[in-house]
């Protein structure tokens, strides 16, 4: 087989072999629906993604459904595949993608869009949805970026909005009914309109004003809903969660068991899309989580388990859960990790508990350098919180602290940027004020800045984004300020954020740009070494689309936004109010202190927001 020959020539061949412990194997004769779950990035990245683990096992629990995995082949593999004429295939059975019934992409970040097109290209699947033949697979997509589906609407037959555990099975059911009925593709897509959370872009048309803004967005199929409402899972304890997961042969990015404590976030940081789109807050009980942990430890043999959520330390029964987990893990030499700790709820006790097994570095995210700007973004933490947390960490023997900030937030001035340096230096002072006998011998404070990108369904969705020169100027300014032997400074390149911003708030006009760019050979835009800004700008030029239109202007509240037909539960009015409060530097209390009527309870039934 030619694959065997190719694999001997590429880097990391274990990316393409499948057959890992826990992967699912089925007899194809018993299968009526074949689903290809595609992650538009490398194996190591895709296999780290929790959503894929959940949906893979959920679908494979259905007797007559076979869900297989597909990842973007790395550039060396792609070159070999194109040379040998080998089409993109699934890991489990090495079946060409175009032989599947459904091909589903997960949209985790905008910078993976070019990989989607490249994967369709490698699979020889028609890229434009309305041009696909009756025998071609249906291409669907879901995940956080699907909340503004418009930039890739031309390539996708249908989008699945919201949490997938229930709706995916409903889609499969509709497919079972359609398959073999002799009905057309269009009839299948129409049958999906009865399912809440399904968006079929070809049933809608966008009309534009002369200035490029949207004049009207209307449906052309009367069965299509006016607004498409996302799906949520109401009861987190009874919903499916995998008790066995695939254990890869090679090391992946997050090579561990992930326990998902809860969905949603009570905080309401104004820059954060996840904090808005995953509302309301719903948790699993400690009992359910401990039961899952025990089974996953037994079934995977993993040596690390991570408690994952948007803001893990906000889990109401964290003490009970960590105590229970430590009982399970300590004697088995399994380490426990906490991905995101909030400074204000950071506790010595929790940190010490976790480090009983293994001590890793600590990451804090003040996000902005001054209290003024932290109030603007509603990041309800103070300098004092950071100092207390740092002192605790240093007294606990930690020597490495990472500090995450954003550059380019609305209303930011150089004074705010300078505040980042001031904070970092105060953290260093905390270290030197800690007793020599208990503190770590080495100190390393790492400051990282990412560039703020306004996202749909956030209070900053109307904001203008900093242009490249401004971002560079701020980065250079900060670099100059931070000159300290204990502090290092990392920053994200400005161009990537520009492109991310365009696609985050883009409309259907961008599909032409994507097609051009893919033809020119862009892919792996999220990987610095393959991101080619100039090629992208050529594509924009040739498609006659101005990227600045999407990034460098402030939108008015009455403008029709490309994602206005999507209902995530949080109302536009709430976002508008939050944006006005941001301008005044007013903070909004967290959801547990006081309900701010974001709209989610009204839209999705009471009794939620745990």
């Amino acid at each position: 087989m030619s694959l065997n020959k190719i694999l001997k020539r590429v880097q990391k061949p274990a990316r393409y072999i499948g057959n890992e412990y826990g992967s699912v194997h089925k007899n194809l004769e018993d299968i009526s629906v074949r689903f290809a779950f595609c992650f538009p990035d490398t194996y190591e990245v895709g296999m780290s993604h929790l959503g894929m683990k959940i949906l893979y096992h959920l679908l494979n629990n259905e007797k007559d459904v076979y869900c297989e995995r597909v990842f973007a082949p790395w550039v060396d593999m792609e070159e070999e595949m194109r040379k040998e004429g080998l089409e993109l295939f699934s890991l489990e059975t090495k079946t060409p993608l175009k032989e599947f019934d459904m091909v589903g992409f997960t949209l985790q970040y905008e910078m993976s869009y070019s990989n989607i097109l490249n994967m369709l290209d490698l699979a020889n699947i028609t890229k434009i949805a309305t041009e696909r033949g009756e025998n071609e697979p249906f291409v669907c997509a879901g995940g956080p970026c699907a909340y503004n589906p418009e930039p890739i609407a031309d390539f996708v037959d249908f989008f699945i909005l919201g949490e997938g555990e229930e709706v995916n099975l409903e889609v499969i059911d509709a497919y079972r009914k359609w398959k073999g009925s002799g009905k057309t593709r269009k009839e299948f897509l129409e049958s999906l309109l009865l399912i809440e959370g399904i968006y079929v872009p070809q049933f809608y048309d966008a009309v534009y004003n002369e200035d490029g803004t949207i004049k009207a967005f209307t449906k052309n199929n009367e069965k299509a809903p006016d607004k498409i409402k996302k799906r949520i899972i109401k009861d987190m304890d009874s919903i499916f969660y995998p008790e066995e997961i695939i254990v890869p042969f090679m090391e992946i990015v997050h090579d561990r068991i992930t326990l998902e404590l809860f969905r949603g976030c009570i905080r309401g940081c104004r820059f954060c899309q996840a904090g808005m789109i995953y509302r309301p807050v719903r948790g699993r009980s400690p009992e359910r989580l401990l039961d899952l942990a025990e089974k996953l430890i037994k079934n995977t043999g993993y040596e690390e388990i991570s408690m994952s959520s948007l803001s893990t330390s906000d889990y109401p029964e964290l003490k009970k859960l960590t105590d229970g987990l430590l009982d399970l893990t300590e004697k088995k030499k399994i380490s426990l990790s906490l991905p995101s700790l909030r400074l204000d709820s950071f506790s010595m006790e929790l940190m010490q508990k976790v480090q009983k097994v293994r001590k890793s570095g600590l990451t804090f995210a003040p996000e902005a350098g001054t209290q003024r700007l932290r109030d603007v973004i509603n990041k309800g933490i103070t300098e004092e919180d950071l100092m207390t947390a740092s002192t605790t960490a240093f007294a606990g023997g930690y020597g490495g602290v990472k500090l995450y900030f954003m550059i380019g937030l609305p209303t930011e001035t150089l004074e705010d940027v300078e505040g980042i340096n001031d904070l970092a230096r105060k953290v260093v002072d905390c270290y030197y004020n800690t007793d020599k006998a208990v503190r770590n011998r080495n100190l390393k404070v790492t400051v990282s800045t990412s560039t703020f990108v306004p996202k749909p369904f956030t209070p900053f969705q109307w904001a203008s984004q900093d242009n490249i020169p401004t971002v560079r100027e701020k980065q250079a300014f900060l670099k100059e300020k931070i000159r300290h032997k204990n502090i290092s400074y990392n920053w994200h390149d400005a161009e990537t954020s520009i492109l991310e911003g365009v696609f985050a708030r883009g409309d259907r006009k961008l599909s032409k740009v994507l097609l051009k760019a893919q033809e020119k050979g862009v892919r792996f835009d999220g990987w610095q070494e393959y991101f080619n800004y100039d090629l992208w700008m050529e594509a924009f030029n040739e498609a006659g689309v101005d990227p600045d239109f999407y990034n460098l202007r402030e939108r008015s509240y009455d403008e029709i936004l490309p994602w206005d037909h999507i209902d995530v539960g949080v109302t536009k009015k709430f976002l508008e109010n939050e944006n006005e409060k941001a301008k005044r530097g007013e903070v909004t209390p967290n959801c547990r202190e006081k309900c701010s009527n974001c709209g989610i309870i009204k839209g999705f039934g009471g009794g939620l927001c745990g």
Binding site: K5, P13, A14, I17, Y21, V247, K333, K359
Partner: protein, 216 residues
């Protein structure tokens, strides 16, 4: 605490799993099988286990070995059964024995036996013999500091043709020098006029120490 040597196979696509990845893989296999390994002391405890001798990526084998220290002694058949139930496709434990003072030591490893199957053209046995007797066989070998011409002739013990498309090779396989069958194949293609050994698969069948004893 008891030290065992496990014999295992690496077959099918598992041949693409690197040795480095195997260490992590085995730790997890033992955890799933609920067979307790002994751990080192300290901040980052590691299981006490080591994988025998290097095997190139893409090479299958039926004679790999793993030395591991277990918390307690148990019925070998029981242990093997549990391990195989917890191992991924392509990795199979075929034997185990307690390590004693007479067990072959890694530092005494000398050679390994391979079969090489090809879709290409093999030279005749006399051409192979001539190649082996010709004196120095200099090939470009990658070293830490770049590439270097190396004479591989002292590291080839035997090469024999087994039928139309199969070769038997015994090559040096020691902790300090490990001659890969691929290197030999490339040298044969270069130095033997009628050799065109393309698209070949390599399989390791035995690892021997200086006294000619199998490791497992």
């Amino acid at each position: 605490m008891v030290k065992y040597r496990f014999k295992f196979t690496k077959e099918g696509d598992a041949k693409y799993v690197s040795q480095l990845d195997l260490v992590r893989l085995f730790t997890r296999v033992f955890k799933r099988a609920e067979i307790a390994l002994t751990y080192s002391q300290g901040f980052n405890p590691h299981p006490k286990m080591s994988i025998g001798l290097p095997l190139g990526i893409g090479v299958t084998s039926e004679c790999e070995f793993l030395d591991a220290e277990l918390e307690e002694k148990n019925d070998p058949m029981e242990i093997l059964k549990k391990l195989n139930a917890s191992a991924p496709i392509g990795i199979r434990f075929t034997a185990m024995q307690e390590i004693c003072e007479f067990s072959p030591k890694v530092k005494d490893a000398e050679s390994a036996i391979y079969t090489v199957k090809t879709e290409g053209v093999l030279p005749t046995q006399s051409e192979i013999d001539e190649f082996l007797k010709s004196g120095e066989i200099n090939v470009l070998k990658k070293t830490k500091s770049g590439e270097k011409m190396t004479d591989i002739s002292p590291d080839i013990f035997e090469i024999e043709k087994m039928g139309e498309n199969e070769l038997f090779m015994r090559l040096r396989c020691a902790p300090n020098i490990n001659l890969k069958p691929e290197t030999v194949v490339l040298a044969m293609n270069e130095f033997i006029e009628n050799a065109d050994i393309t698209d070949f698969d390599v399989h390791r069948t035995r690892i021997l120490d200086r006294l000619g004893r199998d490791f497992s």
